[in-house]
Amino acid sequence: MSNLLQEETVSKIASFDGIDIYSIKTDKFKTSSVSIFFHTNLDRERVTKNAMIPAVLRRGCRRFPTFQEIALHLEELYGATFDCGVTKMGERHIIQFYIEFVSEMFTEEGSNQFDKAFDLLYEIITQPVLENEVFKDEYVKQEKDNLKRLIESRVNDKMLYAVEKCLEEVCKDEPYGIYDYGFVSDLKDINAKNLYEQYIAMLETYPVQVYIAGSASDKSVERAIEKLKKLRPKTDGTFGDLADKKLFGPSPESFNKSVNKVRNVVERFSVNQGKLSLGFRTNIRPDSKEYYALLVYNGILGGGVHSKLFQNVREKASLAYYAFSRLEKFKGLMVVSSGIEIANKDKALEIILQQIDEIKAGNITDYEFESTIKTIETSVKSLKDNQLQIVTHYLGQAIANTSDTFDDLISKTSRVTKQEVIDVAKKIQLDTIYFLTSKEQA
């Protein structure tokens, strides 16, 4: 194997019809992958249907009309992995399709792994099983049931639920407050016909990003580009609702929301442990210089074992097993979350708020500051060892309208000063205190 390939950088290799194609060439992995993202704005009208689209598409395509036949084909491709779904990044809703497969050098006959895998992905997206010129009714009905259950099952994972729910409460009157997988109550109006119509809109108008990662040959990549040129034959050239601000970063109106009054939200379940989450507005855009100081702020507050939250809530007060903070980069939000004894809520809240005040007051030790910078450096470098994380990083750059490589991110973070962190701290506003608690608690 050669060591000629350089660092994991991305290059745009083609752009047409609202489709941007990127290549990340590396031979350090045993596998290669193709990821295709369709972008749209997150809104109530489309969110549930967008969530339904990949669920129906994965059930079959013309050449492999059932889920079982797709699965059989994936096994023939040396156990290739296919997956699809939706996610939100800020107020952008993203429908994603992904296939990962063993690189040709490790297959017995040197088969055309890439071409075969790409074709499967392409066909799943563009050649669904049709019935009366719309989606197959049986698949739509079954996937409506599955989506209903998926949405309702959110509560099964209380730790994650308490984080997501808190941020949704912060943004309850804004698009970000919408759950990625949509609304159970909107499912009843979805049928094979109107879902198919939205699918056609997705295919023809949503901006698309394609990432080809791994060791594909130039010939195979060229072949893939040719196929993608046929993705939207009927397009009118407008490319969807993002066309006018085609990936220019989050809109100004999605930021700069000030907080008038801190809200308290309590939700009750039959649980043993309480989950306390605090939702904040950072008011800092991902394409601003301050963003790097915000990264450091978050690291000092709750980004690891050196952080104020871990040290004070867990190590000193023994109140929790976990206590952390996390950023939502594209909407300028931050959440703090911890699992605690229900009776200790006030005590935990007091300690958490104290830590936030400490940073505002400039009480940041050199240990906290330097450990944070180094921890961020390690985690950024580590991203390079995972194909999907490399892709996610560059997708995030596109959505934020920035173009940081891994090294840029490290060097910009390392130049942040304590004063900049303190300045950022002053902008951060507590918005919502969410407590998931037992049914018995008063």
């Binding site: 060591n3 590396t26 350090k28 992995f29 045993k30 596998t31 059932t66 889920f67 079982q68 699965a71 059989l72 994936l74 096994e75 023939e76 491709l77 040396y78 156990g79 290739a80 992995t81 990962e100 497969f101 063993v102 490790f106 049986e138 079954q142 599955n146 259950r149 998926l150 309702e152 099952s153 509560v155 099964n156 994972d157 209380k158 730790m159 379940f269 649980v271 043993n272 442990q273 074992v305 050196h306 190590e315 023994s318 109140l319 097993y321 976990y322 699992g339 004894e341 240990y367 330097e370 450990s371 910078i373 180094k374 921890t375 450096e377 390690t378 470098k381 580590s382 060892d385 995972n386």
Partner: protein, 427 residues
């Protein structure tokens, strides 16, 4: 220094092996071009080892449930504070986990490997436990236990183990209970440490873009010499061959029921490559019977009885083994009925050789993918190591697997008398 090199050209990997004079074995798997370096220091001691005879003693020692995990938490505490702080200063991530039969300490870093490695070697070999810190840890671990009490997947998993086993300690939660950990003190912790953290009971595995000589030299210099000693006598209660119960349920705050079911296996005396062979065979069988390409999976899915959360796995250790499969379902009983029916049909009509060939190829491809990640390699390495094998032995097992053996294991393992079901219902 004596370093053994084994090359696995087919998959482009190399394994370096070194043995310290104390009996500790160390392994290095280099990964060219990777930023992350991952080092693990593990002991063959986990949650199931709650009864044993200390080498040199006559009496049996019985310790509180959850003590291996408690000790894992306490080792991070050092005379001059928490070793976590020192790792943090280097920007690296220390961590640890306790399983049924091993405790694993690890860190990942991208820079200053030898400084990080030094910290790992030092803290695992130098416990500093005070009564005060033991009491403090009870609050933290208490919340960890509470967290798992509310985790429906965790609960359905342990409830199924409770259905399988009448006496075997594998059915006991790894962290113990709030009641059992209240009995833990400094003295018992040291006793466990001195028994199980002898170098001959431990292993080091390092994965990353590193040179074997320097890594092994550091180990040679820094592992304390310990006199060879007798084996630890690990005591396990007599376990019945049949199920303890065939059904268990619990109510929790979930929207849809969750279930786990599986077959209790009898693999007494199976170790080394034989245990690996059994594992691969059962996993191929699970894939053939209920994998995404199977008729069974597709029947259950299209009836809305299972969804994307459906998964399966097989676990085999020195004195227990079981398969497990489950996910969310509106009607777990119906799922059990259909699965049982299908398995009966396979017993009558036999397995399909073509399915077998295709799945063997797929499973091998997926195994290869695990070598993409330094942490995956480390985890897998440690998880099979104390069974007397190393991860590269899988390659040979895949190549030598045959349909006759698959059939033999099918009739042994998929015995409906050994099938138990655990359900978590909405509260």
């Amino acid at each position: 220094m004596d370093i053994k090199t084994v090359k696995y050209d087919k998959i482009g990997e190399t394994l370096y092996i070194y043995e310290h004079k104390s009996g500790l074995k160390a392994f290095l798997i280099p990964k060219k071009g990777y930023s992350k370096k991952y080092a693990t220091f593990a002991t063959h001691y986990g949650s199931i080892n709650n009864e044993f005879i200390v080498p040199g003693e006559d009496n049996v020692t019985r310790v509180p449930d959850g003590i291996a995990h408690f000790l894992e938490h306490k080792l991070f505490e050092q005379k001059d504070g928490s070793v976590m702080d020192k790792f943090s200063k280097l920007g690296s991530n220390p961590n640890a986990y306790t399983g049924f039969s091993q405790t694993v300490y690890l860190f990942s870093c991208t820079d200053k490997f030898s400084e990080n490695f030094q910290l790992l070697l030092d803290f695992v070999q130098n416990p500093y436990i005070t009564e005060e810190s033991v009491e403090k840890e009870k609050g933290i671990i208490g919340q960890e236990i509470r967290m798992y009490e509310d985790d429906p997947n965790w609960r359905s998993f342990f409830n199924l183990l409770g259905a399988f086993y009448k006496n075997h300690p594998v059915k006991i939660d790894i962290a113990g209970t709030i009641e059992s950990i209240s009995k833990i003190n400094r003295e018992i912790l040291y006793k466990c440490y001195n028994t199980f953290y002898h170098p001959s009971n431990m292993v080091i595995c390092v994965v990353g873009d590193l040179e074997p000589e320097s890594v092994f030299e550091q180990i040679e210099k820094n592992i304390k010499y310990a006199e060879p000693r007798e084996e630890i006598k690990r005591i396990f209660p007599e376990e019945i061959q049949s199920l303890n119960k065939d059904y268990v349920e619990q109510s929790l705050a979930v929207s849809t029921p969750l279930f786990q079911m599986g077959f209790k296996d009898d693999t007494k005396g199976l170790s080394g490559p034989e245990s690996l062979k059994r594992e691969v065979a059962v996993k191929i069988l699970l894939e053939m019977i209920m994998g995404k390409s199977s008729a069974l999976y597709n029947e259950l899915y299209s009836q809305g009885l299972i969804n994307n959360t459906f998964e399966f796995d097989y676990t085999i250790e020195e004195n227990y083994a079981f398969s497990m499969f489950g996910g969310e379902s509106p009607d777990p009983f119906r799922v059990k009925e259909i699965i049982s029916g299908k398995i009966e049909e396979f017993h009558k009509k036999g397995l399909d050789r073509e399915d077998y060939e295709r799945i063997r190829k797929a499973v091998k491809g997926r195994f290869l993918r695990r070598f993409n990640s330094v942490e995956n390699i480390s985890h897998l390495f440690i998880s099979v190591y104390f069974r007397g094998v190393n991860i590269f032995d899988y390659l040979d097992v895949y190549d030598k697997m045959n349909f006759e053996y698959i059939n033999e294991i099918f009739s042994k393992h998929f015995n409906l008398n050994n099938l138990a079901l655990s359900v978590v219902k909405p509260a």
